[in-house]
Symmetry: C2
Subunit: 261 residues, 2 copies
């Protein structure tokens, strides 16, 4: 992946020994997305799977719903600008990060903080279950295939699996972008994720959980820890959350029936 990292001369210290060495640094670029001529967001991201990222972002933010909603996509790798012509959308830009106060604080078990999420997220009805060994298998893949992660320490990675097979992968300097790229890949290729598993190198906050819900994936396996808000949303949305996943060890937090010992 020559374009994903740059080589830089740095000072490396080990104890009191200190020396100049060549080292790899992971790249970060700004990607500005325009929808029907309007600038809607600038994402800071890794320069890979850019179209997938655009599709996934538009999908998860509610601008598009089906492939036919996108009429044209243009992306210039030189200036990191993406222009999408698509169906006029119901959701307003102003709602994107507007807190939905009334539903957020307390009463119901599911606490959704943002207005768009309340409109877009529904409990999953999937009864998909997987053997515990299949879960371990995805974690093993995650550990052994995160080459960019291990060479630079700088990116998160994730993937989508089904019956032990890896169907999609992505990585990015931003946790959220990993999910948007997977979402965009599935959307672009018409893959229905309802009976699939998503695995991820990072932590599970509420924002990550809601992305999984929007992708309609019933099982999330993460190497990192989940937050309590993510878990209460997962319980309400019928999503299985697995955290602290290692090759032979993991914690199942919600909807535990989906994992067969």
């Amino acid at each position: 992946m020559p374009n994903e990292t740059v080589t830089q001369t740095i000072l490396k210290a080990k104890g009191t020994l200190i020396e100049w060495v060549e080292d790899e640094v992971v790249r970060e670029v700004p990607l500005t997305i325009h929808y029907n001529g309007e600038e809607i967001a600038t994402l800071l991201c890794s320069p890979s799977q850019t179209e997938e990222l655009v599709y996934g972002f538009l999908l998860n933010e509610g601008f598009i719903r089906v492939p036919e909603d996108v009429y044209k996509i243009r992306h210039d790798p030189a200036d990191h600008l993406a222009w999408i012509d698509g169906k006029p959308c119901v959701l307003q830009k102003e709602l994107m990060s507007k807190r939905f106060v009334s539903a957020c604080c307390g009463k119901s078990r599911a606490s959704f903080c943002f207005a768009n999420d309340v409109l877009m997220v529904k409990p999953l009805i999937s009864t998909h279950s997987i053997p515990l060994q299949e879960a371990y298998g995805y974690v093993k893949f995650l550990q052994s295939n995160s080459t960019l992660f291990y060479s630079t320490g700088g990116v998160h990675s994730g993937g989508v699996g089904h019956q032990g097979k890896i169907l999609l992968t992505s990585y990015d300097i931003g946790r959220h972008n990993v999910f948007d790229k997977l979402s965009g890949s599935a959307f672009h290729t018409g893959l229905n994720l309802e009976n699939h598993v998503i695995f991820f190198s990072g932590r599970v906050s509420s924002e990550i959980l809601l992305k999984v819900a929007k992708m309609k994936v019933p099982i999330l396996i993460a190497r990192g820890a989940p937050t309590d808000m993510a878990l209460s949303q997962a319980a309400a949305l019928n999503i299985t959350v697995i955290g602290f996943a290692r090759e032979q060890r993991l914690n199942i937090y919600t909807c535990t029936d989906r994992i067969i010992p």
Copy 2:
């Protein structure tokens, strides 16, 4: 920290053995900030140092500049709403995440992506330097004092040091919030950070680097990796970035003169 975590019953798997256990889960809450009556943002954060977080956010986003700019702050821990009355601000909410396209892409070495940052960030003139052993000391503190991190795996932590002493600390589920809390603490107590060091458990992306620049801290020590964009900004802003920091090992990427072997 009884309020920072909740206890939950989960299924723990180790190999083929699987059992119910009580485990700690880190809390995440939405904090909605209103400035002069207008809702400006909802942050998802750890429920600690909330006023510091509010101060730091307003400071780093350019709403306030000196303590006198804040007339009144009210924060209700029950509904996670914060109301700040302060000086009418120059920066507009619309600029907050608006990409500053012309300066961003290529020409100059310093690539600033957001309009507000271009207005707010200036190269540091500090000639502060520290012995390598002082740097190792902060990393040691970070490793040995991240109790919430180690018990739940769920938060990032950071701190501010001067001549080997730890002056401020913070932690949060969100990387950015760690810096806003430190920034708000320093602002609130009138601490000038120009000859100080900031240390942090996470990765250094451009957003993190710009927060450090706004805090006017000349030296950043991180356990994680930096991105190329963060490093080019650091070079242009005269900030020393240290990454992959461990107790007896670290990489110095920029402005290396500030570290004395």
